[in-house]
Symmetry: C2
Subunit: 209 residues, 2 copies
């Protein structure tokens, strides 16, 4: 395997780019979700920018249902989040210096009615966070593979909140540190459905774009 | 009321900017959700970029649960989406040249198991779309105020999909065309909870950032 150098790193980042469509933001086209993180710590100033980006997302009725539990390597919250992860995620996520968990308030504060957009809007805030992270040179990876009730119990999250996603945040590390199967995924191009399969003029009829 | 000129438009856009935090992406800080849209049509080339941006969002297991129904003024899909909106949204949304509806596949295609991130990930794709729209000079506004079952019926959306959000897309229009109460909201600064209320080191203890 090639040594991880600035050159092989650049080759990996290039491999992960979405095919160019002129006018699409680079930060959207180039963002991906690595599994190998370096030892480098994330500064508080940069973490603040990530959540600042999340904060300005749109939400139904401006409810801002999102909350984030932030763990940094060595603290209790980090250990609890890591501990709730499925083993196949622990293997790699433990290399990230930051682990965070999103949760979403289920009901509107103003009237107590169910907010059916609580996870939708939390996903939007998380997308903002990820794009901001990428812009700062950070990398991030969200996971659904964890035990939400274990996280709820160990982190004392009230029932009024739905458990969202765990996210690993840090700087890109050496893919060679990953187990074989994960290394192969790390070094494979990103894939998405073609537009024809996701944008319709009427149900399952591709929109003319 | 002042006439809508390039100058008053710029003053409005400036009023809507989030307070600067150096390093936070302008597109995140400046994006907002207008209710007044101009007559100007949106090109197919630009619409394609919006959905291209949505397409590259992250999703649980790379499921990409998002689908979009795209309506353009004058077509049936537009009329059906508009018709499903609550009256308080119809009032202004009818000025937008594009109305789209997001829906989210409830189960993973591979194994039929429930995907609890279906709306979360659709929200993430929508956030990408909105940032891309803003970068192109377009504006957008998502709405939860509509009858999802009416939309499902008129647009023939299968039960396998959860109804997401309606989004208005177009170019910024004159706030003076809005009813008084909406005009006031159009001309008010955006507000968000402070970071201390959304980022915790342990539950409801603000993280030190």
């Amino acid at each position: 395997l090639p040594t991880f150098t600035p050159e092989t790193r650049q080759a990996l980042e290039t491999l992960k780019e979405a095919p160019p469509v002129p006018g699409v933001l680079d930060v959207i086209r180039h963002r991906w979700s690595p599994r190998a993180y370096s030892d480098r710590e994330v500064s508080s100033a940069d973490l603040k920018k990530l959540f600042e980006a999340a904060r300005w997302a749109a939400s139904s009725n401006n409810e801002q249902p999102w909350r984030f539990l932030l763990g940094r390597r060595g603290d209790e919250t980090y250990a609890k989040i890591l501990n709730a992860l499925a083993e196949f995620n622990q293997v790699w996520a433990k290399t990230a210096p930051v682990l965070a968990l999103s949760v979403a308030r289920k009901a509107f504060v103003s009237n107590g009615r169910a907010n059916r957009f609580h996870l939708h809007d939390t996903g939007a805030a998380t997308a903002n966070l990820f794009l901001e992270a990428f812009a700062l040179g950070l990398r991030s990876h969200a996971m659904g593979g964890f035990d939400p009730e274990k996280a709820r119990a160990s982190l004392a999250i009230p029932q009024e909140y739905e458990i969202g996603a765990v996210m690993a945040i840090g700087y890109l590390g050496d893919p060679n540190t990953l187990p074989d199967q994960l290394r192969q995924r790390e070094e494979s191009p990103r894939e998405r459905k073609p537009l024809e399969e996701i944008v319709f003029s009427s149900w399952e009829t591709p929109a003319q774009l």
